[in-house]
Symmetry: C2
Subunit: 450 residues, 2 copies
Amino acid sequence: MTPKTVARTVIVGGGAGGIGAAGAAKAADPQGEVIVYTEYEDAAYSPCGIPYVHGREIPDFDRLFLAGKEAYVEAGIDIHYNSRVTSVDLARRQVAVEGEGDVAWDRLVIASGFDYADPGVPGSDLEGLYYVKNIRRAMEWDKVIDHVKVAVVIEASPLGLEMVTALAHRGIETHLVDPHPWALSEAADPDIAEPVQESWAEMGVKMHFNTRLEEFLGDSNGKVRGVRTSEGELPADLVVICTKKTPRNDLAAAAGIQIGSTGGIIVDERMATSAAGVWAAGDCIEVPHGVSNVPLQGLSGSHAYSQGKVAGTNAAGGNRKYQPVYVPWGMVAGKWMIGGVSFGETLATALGIPFVLGKAQGISRARYYPDMKKILVKLLAEPGTGRLIGAQLVGGEGIKERADFLAMCVKVGITLEDLAFMENVYSPPIGALNEPIALAAQNGLANLKG
Amino acid sequence: MTPKTVARTVIVGGGAGGIGAAGAAKAADPQGEVIVYTEYEDAAYSPCGIPYVHGREIPDFDRLFLAGKEAYVEAGIDIHYNSRVTSVDLARRQVAVEGEGDVAWDRLVIASGFDYADPGVPGSDLEGLYYVKNIRRAMEWDKVIDHVKVAVVIEASPLGLEMVTALAHRGIETHLVDPHPWALSEAADPDIAEPVQESWAEMGVKMHFNTRLEEFLGDSNGKVRGVRTSEGELPADLVVICTKKTPRNDLAAAAGIQIGSTGGIIVDERMATSAAGVWAAGDCIEVPHGVSNVPLQGLSGSHAYSQGKVAGTNAAGGNRKYQPVYVPWGMVAGKWMIGGVSFGETLATALGIPFVLGKAQGISRARYYPDMKKILVKLLAEPGTGRLIGAQLVGGEGIKERADFLAMCVKVGITLEDLAFMENVYSPPIGALNEPIALAAQNGLANLKG
């Protein structure tokens, strides 16, 4: 067993949560030891960039690496690569590491990430099923994609939207199979998804909504040749599985750490788990939604990184709180950018949350300026008070920045009235006379009063 | 004298303030009569677009027209073109209109706009001095510009920055003469202006800061041939005068309506002037700055339009309030976008307003994504509370949206702490892991506590 002389923080996982925690732990206790265990060959690359290399927007995978391994050595963070943690012993305060034996910790941060949900259909052992996650595997898959003529993407999740767009860019006949009635139906309203779907149609994508996957079909060599769905068979050289991210909670659950309704590890606002000295962050935990208080799991890399920083800081003796999330999100899908905050009409309705809607089509620059893009803004407000509780956006530019803004608005209680009369930059190449958010708020205000 | 049967709103001025007032007055009192007097041949075009047609970003002037004249007729707004209002009689509630005689009003909105400050040097009657304002004149000047080899732009005002950039794009040897030490020094800090100036240097622009204009020099035909400055003479075929916008207050002042320290007409929050039944909006008025309470004049077209709507609504019997301004601004200058809110270090220091600074260089997309742009964010916060009081930005995209966001933050009292831990969209093509505003706030928070 590795001897230790100073307080040791052990971190399970080398993704955004784990790396955020490692840096923060080192900052909070520079004398302390920080060891990160990752199953993979690398840490600190951006898995979020993989679909864009496949789509050829980014020319090569090397660009996705954030820092060389030596940067962590220099920062005093000891990353053990290809190292699987197989169990956590709370009583003895040690983890078992494959090939290393037991390693003692004074503080433990679990940032074990996610797995894609098992599609739960026959044929899942066939060759040609691609789960987008690890960069080394992605490099190998990219060469496979060179020879693919027909691909099927399973589920219109955020990753599914990115992969459909990437494969279509790559000139591959791409089919999307999803059991829901429109793309990204758990986050986006149908009027937000509609232009995305129209643009996919223009790009030659074949969409199969309201369609369940029933089987991966193989040939005599054990290679995938297609999928069977509730609506018939589709041939495919490649199947990309973009099911929901489920929390990897096995280590924590086996150790007796409390798990929540989403399957995510339960943490308090300091990212402390139910076990003393054990913290958690990233896709393996659940956190409360600021408006509905519903636990959420599987947010963005930015959330994982922020949670990691809170967990690492507190593990190493600091004191930081993580706040409820309002979940600004955004992405490129087809020829559009889509995004939102908190929830849209569909999800609010499903959750039984009453709302008043304000909706407007605006523009990103002066009407007459080249490359002006349309932006559709939908704002959801609490009846009575008019406080913003959610938003949805689709447009050609400025979606991310508006989603960030609106997330802060929801958090601090900004109303439709505040937004209806907001000041905005007006300059022909970068902003229109009327900010689209203000136009939507003006319409919402009329509905609120009407 | 024109007879009247219903309540008549007379509006002096057909710019953003006047047109905003006309539409709002008609909406608030659809039966009422609305007459707009403008000195020009047109109303409802975007003068803000003129520099971009000169710069050839926009292919023609026709695109700058917002609506045909028939649209106003249909909306029941009676615009009198080429009509100069020469006096206002408060006692008799009438205006004198050149060629029309006296016209009675029940409500009057003064939206008489601005003039460029007189440079106050000899030679101002020479041919070849261009004041950018009217679209018909701009069309004529554009043909002149085709033959210009050397141009001098007088003063690095917002319009000056646009015209320097436009003329340089047009391939003209362009000189900028400004008495201050850097570009846009009344609004932008030197570190915000610096990249703009570097990019102008790359574009071949010759900058003459700390340089006073002393004379327009003419040839024997009365045409400008150059300028004399405190630092010597510069030859020029064209001189573009981009001095400060001064309020056109002559009609109001002659009628005895109160004028403020900026020269702008004094209005209350309902845009009412000191005279009963008389309202005002746009570049001819002054409004209080939300943080410092200092009166401001000559804001954007968006501000004028909003003020016009408040004035028009209230004139026609409605009840709306205009709120203190925090002045988000933004523009393209050289190869950069610059912007801000409220004030930067230079102006805050000049006003004697104490502040804590947070500054960071961030990025607009994932580091590895094509066309990622750097963004420098500076946040000014109130010592003690950490409340945001101002911001400055320079970068390659997302400046307008961030300035809008930060203006709302200043208005509602958001702190550096709120911004340091804000949630943000992370998606490689549209947003980085760490929002640049959050990075600046984190640095500011360290300074606030340090």
